[in-house]
């Protein structure tokens, strides 16, 4: 049997592509090497608690009957009802730099007031930036060259600090380039985070995954878990043969078209076994951005106001592969319980993401394997301890002993003193789990905006298509499937 479409990887984008393909009546198979769907977004159970991996916040929040957000398009295209997600908007989040803080929520006026108060000379420019972002022509599926957002921004925003404070959270939420981001992605993420806003499904990422899996079944897509595609072979351009590893066995899958969400370099490696690794100039495009993520699950919910904190210890933001194992100059703190009404949440977790160096973690993991030493584990423990210190430090610097936050700094100590369990991911964990080259969460430094590859029947969706984050990945899968699978009439 030949499938009309085989999708490699059940990441958010692969799931969306498979659902759309199946909705159009095509015979679709979805191959995922793990026994669970979701890719970078997954979850596990520990001590009666569901712990999300990946998702801090969904971007592109909208209220029912406001229909300009990409999330609205995503839900409609996949026929998922808004109510099912039970989105809880963030109460507020903050971009925190030494000389200034910008607090924002899903009420745009809040950010405008902040800018007007803290950067009065920039408020008109900021309004222009909003108009510019709304009108920015999106080139998804039409190609488009990389443009530097850092070089562009001064043409609208004049204040250096404000430039940094806008670039920083946006880079952290989706740039595969160091200290910069592609202008189109800047425009998309600026809208997604600041104009539309952040939220979390009440039940975490598991809710989204359950709905998507349900939709796969309803549309008759065949989901094959525990299947790793190890090679893709061209069968005279009429179809592709996928060699699939299932435990110790190999199975063959034939498909007329293939959409892969595994990433460009990762998919290329499957397709061109004959290519000498390291000889191709494409090696230079490997993404350098990766993270560690610490998760602390506490007995009590940490009492803190913001849902997401983008903090930088310097007024010049830092977003690159650090020289050491982790970078402690900046990071991202998330309090999942600070979405929705007060006391609505029950996750009782705190999470902290820091920039990290894949090569160093990789070396440690390798040497620990060969010499049976515990270096990798020790490094993890050390970096986790440094993460705790950073968190405390952040709380202390906020002068929580004054004003409305009085007493919260003792709060964080006692909360962190009662951690039920802790977890720590490294770039090496990300690589091992998703197969991403260099643990590059945001993919490689080149994007394939029309989803095409050099092979006429092989397409890319997700991260290296150039749309990322959970909502971006879903939209990417939909767009690529629409263009190359749904739009063409019956095969």
């Amino acid at each position: 049997m030949i499938f009309d479409l085989a999708v490699i990887g059940a990441g958010m984008s692969g799931l969306a592509a498979a659902i759309r393909g199946a909705m159009s009546g095509k015979k679709v198979v979805l191959l995922e090497r793990h026994t669970r769907i979701g890719g970078l977004n997954s979850y596990y159970f520990r001590q009666g608690q569901t712990i999300d991996v990946g998702l801090h916040a969904l971007t592109n929040f909208y209220q029912p009957r406001q229909s300009t957000s990409p999330l609205f398009r995503v839900l409609r295209q996949l026929r998922i009802s808004y109510e099912e997600l039970q989105l809880l908007p963030h109460r507020s989040s903050v971009v925190s730099f030494p000389d200034q803080e910008l607090v924002f929520s899903n009420q745009r006026e809040q950010l405008l007031t902040e800018i007007a108060q803290k950067f009065p000379a920039e408020i008109d420019n900021f309004m222009r930036l909003i108009e510019w972002a709304k009108e920015y022509p999106l080139s998804a599926l039409s190609g488009g060259e990389y443009k530097s957002a850092r070089a562009f921004l001064p043409s609208i925003i004049k204040d250096r600090l404000l430039q940094e404070m806008l670039l920083f959270p946006i880079m952290f939420y989706g740039s595969s380039w160091e200290d910069d981001i592609d202008l189109e992605q800047f425009a998309i993420l600026f809208k997604s985070i600041f104009l539309e806003g952040l939220s979390r499904p009440k039940g975490g990422v598991r809710v989204i995954l359950q709905i998507l899996q349900q939709r796969l079944y309803e549309e008759g897509c065949e989901l094959r878990l525990g299947r790793e595609v190890v090679e893709v072979v061209d069968v005279k351009d009429v179809s592709l043969l996928l060699k699939v590893r299932v435990g110790a066995q190999t199975e063959e899958v034939f498909a007329r078209k293939v959409i892969s969400c595994a990433g460009y370099l990762e998919t290329d490696a499957l397709f061109s076994k004959e290519k000498v690794k390291g000889m191709s100039d494409e090696v230079n495009i490997a993404g350098k951005i990766s993270f560690t993520e610490a998760i602390w699950c506490c007995r009590r919910t940490p009492a803190w106001q913001h849902a997401v904190v983008f903090f930088s210890k310097n007024n010049q933001s830092y977003y690159r592969r650090p020289p050491g194992l982790i970078d402690t100059n900046s990071g991202l703190i998330c309090f999942p319980d600070n979405f929705g009404e007060k006391n609505e949440g029950s996750e009782r977790t705190v999470r902290l993401s820091l920039l990290a160096n894949f090569d160093l973690w990789h070396q440690l993991a390798q040497s620990s394997q060969s010499s049976q030493t515990m270096e990798y584990q020790e490094a993890k423990q050390q970096c986790e301890a440094m993460s705790v210190a950073l968190l405390r430090d952040y709380f202390l610097r906020q002068r929580l002993d004054q004003g409305p936050y009085q007493g919260l700094n003792q709060g964080i100590d006692s909360v962190l003193g009662e951690v039920i369990f802790r977890d720590f991911y490294t770039p090496w964990s990300i690589h091992r789990y998703t197969g991403r080259v260099g643990g590059a969460v945001y993919g490689c430094q080149k994007k394939f905006r029309d989803g095409r590859t050099t092979h006429p029947n092989l397409y890319l969706c997700g991260t290296d298509h150039g749309l990322l984050g959970v909502v971006g990945a879903l939209l990417s899968g939909i767009t690529v499937a629409n263009q190359y699978i749904v739009a063409e009439s019956a095969l």
């Binding site: 909705m23 159009s24 009546g25 029912p64 009957r65 229909s67 609205f72 398009r73 409609r76 295209q77 026929r79 009802s81 808004y82 939909i478 629409n482 749904v486 739009a487 009439s489 019956a490």
Partner: protein, 86 residues
């Protein structure tokens, strides 16, 4: 089926499809001669779904060059009328 009945039938088939695709839209007072896009939050992705559902539910193929003919409800009826079984 009389022609008049068939017109009603075809129109209803299209309204049903739109209701599936866009369950959050109010289709009660939709106007037949005004572009669908002006009355409802439909974009090109949704039109693709109308075409997809026509294929799935009614085995009717609409080639891309004919998509503009689906702009209004009356345009849809006129274009699809001969394609629906009598």
């Amino acid at each position: 089926m009389l022609n008049k009945e068939k017109v009603v039938h075809v129109r209803q088939a299209i309204v049903d499809i739109i209701a599936d695709i866009a369950p959050d839209e109010n289709l009660g007072d939709i106007r037949d001669d005004v572009a669908l896009r002006e009355q409802l939050e439909l974009d090109s992705m949704d039109f693709l779904d109308i075409v997809m559902e026509l294929r799935k539910k009614h085995k009717i193929e609409v080639p891309p060059e004919d998509y503009p003919r689906l702009a209004t409800l009356s345009g849809c009826v006129e274009y699809l009328f001969p394609k629906f079984p009598a």
